[in-house]
């Protein structure tokens, strides 16, 4: 145990103790030392562990720690040893092909103990303030172990069903452990938010966004997204937090992404745009996956707020985004309604899963606008009058309804084919487009003409 504690001591006294100690308390062996956990487990046993750790801590750390702190670490490290013991046993079971609910629960319970003990000793002030970041990482592992335990329980449950008990509605609800983890995370969150330490450099308030992000992830997994709003609200209401700009970028970008995503899901697209744009701008340039996720929401968002589409340059940079959106945006640009409908239908399962289907569906207006715009462009220019030059030629602004009707019929032909658009519907679609300010003009019914504005007939599109 002395040797293991030497590792702890080095971590504790290093220049970044929070991360170093989190490495020491990691549930996974580092690649360069694959047998680390096994080795650590062999150092002690269930009965002796607390005494072993206590002795090692006291001989090594006496000069650096108060008695309270030594007691705190003794408990935390003993809990860690127990968790490692369960992890090693679970790994052995896995090698023998009998990993199941039991092992997953054991690992989860032991890690849950570790996390709770950590919380206890931080909140009673025994451990230094920076351990809040170590705790964040420990809590993140709790999240993963809870998910694993829930999965194993869900797998085991159908067996329990067939055993009888037709009156039993379901025993343990799904995601029981992850739901319980939320309560632990909330405790950690209030520990951060409510820290009254006067010295801001030593404040747990620096952990606020880190824990908030952990909770966001969990809420999304549990599909209780609405609870995230309370979190954002309590952060906004806390007036004495350090300035947002002073937090590490990893905390900020993740937070901005989730707040943007929450606004997006609530269809508050202008707010979503603000947050997602900031997340994009600050995102770590090498984190491709995260950049892709930000764009997955920012692209549909911009479509609604600005009627803009991404450049092919942007899409080409991200093969997954291109696969997801490429066709759709090609049809949007062209004003091809049936192509758009087809692409939307083909992508539907994935769009729904990513929660962007309804947003994308709303962009059908833009397809329509582009189609009408093409009719306008195709009508060409008025003949040149005396003194006019090529440069200030005027486009034809009176266009027969029949042209729009023909364009609509052409655009909706194809796949469906059976869709017949009657003249009333043509007028209706035109009127809607005008109403939505996508097009400036009016319908002259007695002349069966659409009269478009001479300047800016299609706002924001250059004509």
């Amino acid at each position: 145990m002395q040797a293991a504690l030497e590792e702890f001591q080095t971590a504790y006294t290093s220049s970044h103790p929070a991360v170093a100690v989190a490495h020491f308390l990691s549930p996974r062996a580092p690649p360069e030392d694959a047998a680390r956990l096994h080795g650590f487990q062999r150092l002690s046993n269930e009965v002796m562990v607390t005494g072993d750790v206590q002795y090692a801590i006291e001989t090594r750390m006496r000069r650096q720690m108060s008695p309270d702190e030594m007691r705190g670490w003794t408990e935390v490290i003993s809990c860690y040893w127990r968790a490692v013991d369960r992890i090693v046993k679970a790994e052995n079971a896995q090698h023998q092909g009998r990993f199941s609910e039991r092992q997953a629960l054991d690992v989860h319970d032991a890690w849950n103990d570790l996390t709770n003990n950590f919380v206890k000793h931080i909140s009673n002030g025994a451990l230094p303030f920076w351990t809040i970041f170590t705790l964040c990482l420990t809590a993140n592992h709790l999240r993963l172990f809870a998910i694993q335990a829930d999965e194993q329980m869900a797998k085991a449950k159908p067996v329990a069903f067939s055993a009888g008990f037709s009156d039993d509605i379901g025993g343990t609800p799904k995601n029981e452990k992850l739901g319980a983890a939320v309560r632990v995370f909330n405790k950690v969150f209030s520990l951060c938010l409510g820290d009254r330490s006067p010295d801001m450099n030593q404040s747990r308030k620096w952990g606020v966004y880190c824990v908030a992000n952990l909770l966001f992830r969990t809420y999304f997994k549990l599909k209780t997204i609405s609870l995230s709003k309370n979190l954002v609200r309590s952060i906004d209401a806390q007036s004495d937090l350090p300035q947002f700009q002073l937090y590490p970028l990893s905390h900020r970008v993740t937070y901005l992404y989730y707040v943007g995503l929450i606004s997006f899901v609530q269809e508050d697209y202008s707010r979503a745009e603000v947050f997602l744009t900031q997340a994009w701008n600050l995102c770590y340039v090498h984190s491709t996956k995260n950049k892709e996720l930000i764009m997955t929401y920012l692209i549909p968002c911009r479509l609604i707020t600005h009627s803009t589409v991404p450049t092919s340059q942007l899409l080409n940079q991200f093969p997954d985004l291109n696969r997801l959106f490429g066709d759709l945006f090609r049809f949007i640009r062209k004003g091809d309604l049936s192509g758009f409908d087809r692409a939307l239908a083909e992508g539907e399962p994935e769009f729904v899963k990513k929660r962007i289907f309804l947003t994308l569906e709303r962009s059908r207006d833009i397809v329509l606008r582009n189609l009408f715009r093409n009719v306008f462009l195709a009508a060409g220019y008025e003949d040149l009058t005396e003194g006019q030059t090529e440069k200030d030629r005027i486009r034809k602004t009176r266009i027969p309804l029949a042209h729009f009707a023909a364009a609509l019929r052409m655009s909706t032909a194809g796949a469906g084919g059976s869709q017949v658009i009657d003249d009333d519907e043509v007028e209706c679609l035109l009127a809607n487009t005008i109403y939505k300010n996508h097009m400036k003009g009016y319908i002259s019914r007695e002349h069966q003409m659409v009269v478009l504005g001479k300047k800016g007939a299609f706002p924001g599109t250059g004509v």
Binding site: N140, G170, N175, R217, T254, C283, V285, L293, V309, P310
Partner: protein, 92 residues
């Protein structure tokens, strides 16, 4: 869904419970078809980084299409549309 509902009684109940939860929308213990792990925002490999390592130096000008005019005016759809309208133009 209906196929599963014809199973044993217990199974039926579970399925019904699923349905109810979906309707309630925000029921706390809502059963999930979990988002695949790869859909989750990843932990950044580093905690903090400099402005040079953000998107800011690249600027935002290349992100959004400025023009709606197709670069390729000879594209099938546009050509087809123009042909179609030309036909109409002559009949007027």
């Amino acid at each position: 869904m209906s196929g599963a509902a014809q199973g044993g009684t217990a199974t039926t109940k579970a399925v019904v419970a699923d349905k109810d939860a979906t309707k309630n929308g925000e029921a706390d213990k809502k059963p999930t078809a979990p988002l695949e792990e790869d859909d989750e925002f990843e932990d950044f490999p580093v905690e903090d980084w400099e402005e040079e390592e953000t998107q800011i130096p690249g600027g935002t000008s290349h992100l959004w299409e400025e023009s709606w005019d197709d670069d390729d005016t000879n594209e099938d759809f546009a050509v087809q549309l123009r042909e179609e309208l030309k036909k109409l133009g002559h009949t007027k």
